[in-house]
C-alpha cells in the first residue's frame, strides 16, 4: 500500500476505535435510562422510584387476573419468575393481553407497592407458529399433566 494511503487508513481506524470506545462508555453510563421498563425484581428491591411515572414489565402471572364485575377495572400480577408486582389498570387492554403474556405497563408505583397503570402494552416474543401447532402443543401438555395426575 502507498505510504500516504496507509497513513490515512491507520488514522481512520484509530479515529473509529476512539469514537467507538466513547460511544460504548456513554451507553454503559446510560444503561439504566435506556432500559424501557423495570422488572418486578428491580421494583421489589427498591430500585424503582415511588410516585413517579415509570414503566414496569413482566409476564402476566397465571390465574392472577381479576376483573371487576362492572367497568374495565382489572387487577393482575406480573412476574419475572423471581418476584411479582400487582398491577391495577382501568382501560382498554391490547388484543394480545392474556395470562403468561409479556406486558409493559406505564404508570406509578404506590407506597404500598402496587402499580397503578395508565397504559398497558403487550410485548410479543420471538416465537411464531401456526394455530394447529399451538393447539397440538397445548393438548400434548394437558395430556402430559393428565397422565401425571393419573399416575401413569
Amino acid at each position: 500500500m502507498h505510504p500516504e494511503r496507509r497513513k490515512r487508513a491507520l488514522l481512520l481506524i484509530v479515529i473509529l476505535i476512539i469514537v467507538g470506545a466513547a460511544a460504548g462508555l456513554v451507553m454503559y453510563a446510560l444503561r439504566q435510562n435506556i432500559n424501557l421498563f423495570y422488572s418486578p425484581t428491580q421494583i421489589q428491591s427498591g430500585e424503582a422510584p415511588i410516585n413517579v411515572t415509570i414503566r414496569a414489565g413482566g409476564m402476566v402471572e397465571k390465574n392472577s387476573v381479576v376483573r371487576e364485575s362492572e367497568g374495565l377495572k382489572i387487577r393482575f400480577s406480573i412476574t419475572d419468575y423471581a418476584s411479582r408486582v400487582t398491577v391495577i389498570y382501568n382501560g382498554i387492554l391490547p388484543d394480545l393481553f392474556r395470562e403468561e403474556q409479556g406486558i409493559v405497563a406505564r404508570g406509578k408505583l404506590t407506597e404500598s407497592g402496587e402499580f397503578l397503570a395508565e397504559e398497558v402494552l403487550a410485548k410479543h416474543d420471538e416465537n411464531y407458529m401456526p394455530p394447529e401447532v399451538s393447539d397440538a402443543l397445548k393438548s400434548a401438555k394437558s395430556n402430559d399433566q393428565r397422565n401425571k395426575l393419573e399416575g401413569k
Binding site: R5, R8, A9, L12, I15, L16, V19, G20, A23, M27, R31, I34, N35, L36, F37, S39, G57, L93, P94, D95, L96, V104, E119, V120, L121, A122, K123, H124, D125, E126, N127, Y128, M129, P130, P131, E132, V133, S134, D135
Partner: protein, 247 residues
C-alpha cells in the same frame, strides 16, 4: 494478488456499462423471488396462533430492516475506500446505497408501526431498538443532505464519508439493543447459530422475499449510481456521446 478488477470497477465509465448489463438480469431475478415470496407469504403461509394475519407484515418488515443495515455497511466500505484510496466511484456508490438504505429504513419503521398498533397497542414507543433504527434513518438523511451541498464537491464527498464511518457504531447498537436492554421489541427470531423460532412454512417465503427485495434494492442502487455517474462525468466525451445517442 491481481487488483485489476478493483481498478476496472473503480472507473465510472466501465462501471456504467457493466451495471447497465447487470441491471436487467438483477431486476428480473429479484422480481421473481420477491413476487413468489410475497404471494406465498401473504396468501398461503399459515397465520400465527397469537397475532393472526397481522404477523404477515414480517414478509416486508424484516427484509427492509436487514437491507437498511447491510446497505449501511456497504456505504461504510465505500466511505473507507473514498477516504483511503480516493476512488472516483466511491462517493457515487456511497450516495447510491444511502438513498436506497434510507428508503428501506423508512419502510422498516413504517411497517413496524403498522404492526405495533394491533400487537403492542401502540404504534410508537421510545424503546432502544425503535430509537436506534430511527437514528439510522436520520444518519442516512444527514449523509444525503451533506452529499448534496456541493459547496465544493471534494469537501462534501469527504465530509459525508467521515460521517458515514462514524455512524457505523450505530449498527451493533441496533443489533444488540434487544439483548442489552429491556425493550418492547422482541429479540431476534433468526440467528446464525440456532434453529429459527418459526416453522419452515413460515420462514421459507420470508427467505424468498428477503433475497428478492435484496436483489431489487441492489439493482435500484446501480440505477441511482448510473444517474450520478452521468451527472458527475458530464464534461467527458463518452457521457456526451452516450447522452446524445439517446436523443
Amino acid at each position: 494478488m491481481n487488483w485489476s478488477w478493483f481498478h476496472t470497477l473503480g472507473s465510472p465509465k466501465k462501471f456504467y456499462y457493466l451495471s447497465l448489463k447487470w441491471e436487467r438480469f438483477l431486476l428480473s431475478f429479484g422480481a421473481l423471488f420477491l413476487g413468489s415470496g410475497l404471494v406465498w407469504g401473504l396468501g398461503f403461509a399459515p397465520e400465527d396462533y397469537l397475532q393472526g394475519n397481522s404477523f404477515r407484515i414480517i414478509y416486508i418488515h424484516v427484509p427492509a430492516a436487514v437491507i437498511a443495515q447491510s446497505f449501511y455497511v456497504a456505504m461504510g466500505v465505500a466511505a473507507f475506500v473514498q477516504i483511503v484510496w480516493r476512488m472516483k466511484l466511491a462517493p457515487i456508490a456511497l450516495r447510491g446505497f444511502a438513498t436506497v438504505g434510507a428508503l428501506m429504513a423508512a419502510l422498516a419503521l413504517i411497517t413496524g408501526a403498522i404492526w405495533g398498533k394491533p400487537t403492542w397497542g401502540t404504534w410508537w414507543q421510545w424503546d432502544a431498538r425503535i430509537t436506534s433504527v430511527l437514528i439510522l434513518l436520520i444518519m442516512y438523511l444527514g449523509i444525503i443532505a451533506i452529499h448534496n451541498t456541493y459547496l465544493e464537491r471534494q469537501l462534501s464527498d469527504r465530509l459525508s464519508a467521515v460521517i458515514a464511518l462514524v455512524g457505523l457504531i450505530n449498527l451493533p447498537i441496533i443489533k444488540y439493543s434487544v439483548d442489552w436492554w429491556n425493550t418492547l421489541h422482541q429479540p431476534a427470531t433468526f440467528t446464525l447459530t440456532e434453529q429459527p423460532k418459526m416453522p419452515s412454512e413460515m420462514w421459507l417465503p420470508l427467505l424468498l422475499s428477503f433475497i428478492g427485495l435484496y436483489i431489487v434494492a441492489l439493482a435500484i442502487v446501480f440505477i441511482r449510481m448510473q444517474t450520478h455517474i452521468l451527472e458527475r462525468e458530464k464534461k467527458t466525451r463518452w457521457v456526451r456521446d452516450e447522452v446524445n445517442d439517446g436523443v
